[in-house]
Assembly symmetry: C2
Homo-oligomer: 324 residues x 2
Amino acid sequence: MSYVAAIDVGGTTMKGGFVTRDGTIHAFERRPTPRADGPSAVVAAVSAFVADLARPRDGVRPLAVGLAVPGLVTPTHAVFSAAFGWRDVPASAFAADVPVPVALGHDVRSAGEAELAYGGDVRSAGDAGLAYGGDVRSAGDAALAYGDGRRDVLYLPIGTGIAGAVVLSGALYGGAGGWAGQIGHIPVRPGGVACGCGQRGCLAAYASGGALAARCGVDGAEEVLRRFLDGDARAAEVWGEAVEALALALTTYTLLLDPAAVVIGGGVSQAGEALLAPLRAALTGRLAFRRAPEVRASSLGALAGLMGAGLLGWRAVPGASGRS
Amino acid sequence: MSYVAAIDVGGTTMKGGFVTRDGTIHAFERRPTPRADGPSAVVAAVSAFVADLARPRDGVRPLAVGLAVPGLVTPTHAVFSAAFGWRDVPASAFAADVPVPVALGHDVRSAGEAELAYGGDVRSAGDAGLAYGGDVRSAGDAALAYGDGRRDVLYLPIGTGIAGAVVLSGALYGGAGGWAGQIGHIPVRPGGVACGCGQRGCLAAYASGGALAARCGVDGAEEVLRRFLDGDARAAEVWGEAVEALALALTTYTLLLDPAAVVIGGGVSQAGEALLAPLRAALTGRLAFRRAPEVRASSLGALAGLMGAGLLGWRAVPGASGRS
């Protein structure tokens, strides 16, 4: 069996493993991300993880390594990461003495690619058109005129932070300079809560896992959810404000880009219907003259980033296209 | 000289004329849009305008008619228009007894096409990348990696209402069902001013020409501008809130889609630097970790819609591609 090694570097945890062409993960392993120890410590920890996974096992070496990191990323550099304090870290810093190709990519965009490749039933644009109802009787026509064969999806992993993979007409969209998808920092509450990015009222300041935990004074978003389900008043308030902030962001995204679906991933999406049911209701309530897109949890869950790192690795294998 | 006829149906005025392949407008004419007289009256007025322009002059008939209307539009139907109360008006209703092809299209999207075809210097994505500065030293690399040869622009005509033409990678983007670009109704002020669309806090409820006039209790946006420049306190307040609402919308658009430029058109854009200078400052102030895109006025001004209608017409001429 041939495989690549893959690592998804998150704000709290690094996930690693071997990924086959069909997206199956073997030898899954988690390591803590030593974020508190500074920029170089995180680079060193990633580099050590890469070196360990690139080593031969039973005489077989992975064909390549795919490495997904947050921030602004090019194939040659981790240009900028607020989470880790990175500035212009060259890809080679993560790949000392590794004799196979190491491919660097953006965590959320890679996860979006995995969602496209492995995530299953993204509904067709024709379905989306038919789903518009009410008094717009020919919206099916509109879908036939504009939407045939396209796939227009926002993939929104909610982890320690929030970014989005903007999938338009079946492909990831990067924008003029590669900065598209910063939905975590759109001002959903002008003048609202201060965000670590330097702005106020950002989506991430209400709805990221980091914000949920900090606003409740607990260690993680799971604990906020547990307290909310147990009836804790502060947790209910924080959870409700997160849902409203997400609904505002998705209202804006829907009106601007008319997606067929929004796919929520990342650790916070594991709350399931405790998140999705009130979010769907709030989004529908805010849209007065059009239907809401489908809002669902990622079928890949928190492993989408690792599977996306695998796709990065497969694309770096000489002669391989990266998709099975 | 061969030409097509073109009509741009606005909320207040219909503009019509003949358009040559290079976008030159001849025999320009304005007629009032009889919006207050109901849906059928507007259809009848448009139909009469089409018939008049399609008539031969000096023995020469236009090769086709391009007709740009607001709302949700397919090539066969004006599916929905809140402004006119239209539901499923077939294109044929506008083209009774006209012996040349009549092409129906969306006003803002057509204006965006005209901006792309005739609007001149949309900056290259490479320029945009180099314009990112500060501590992100390799952002030029990012532009080279992601942005080469693309044109990523928001074209934002501000007239009686507000919609946007979302230009991504050099092409207009319609979304899954043809509803993309509804930037006029994104919730920039959650819970804010009631909008005619049924939502609250929409961009258009603060910054459209209609809202500017209504909030000042005057007849038109020009009068609001005049009073603002004359030092009227209420006009200054309304103008300032419009600028802030636009800055919020453009902050969100920039973070989501990373455009190289935002091109403001429509009647309100004729305010020039009285609008653009404070808008640029407010947008820059709201973006903490990235530069703002270029914000400029459309070089086509309020004629972009008519030139776009001309492109619709040229595309309907048998054997023509629609661009010179």
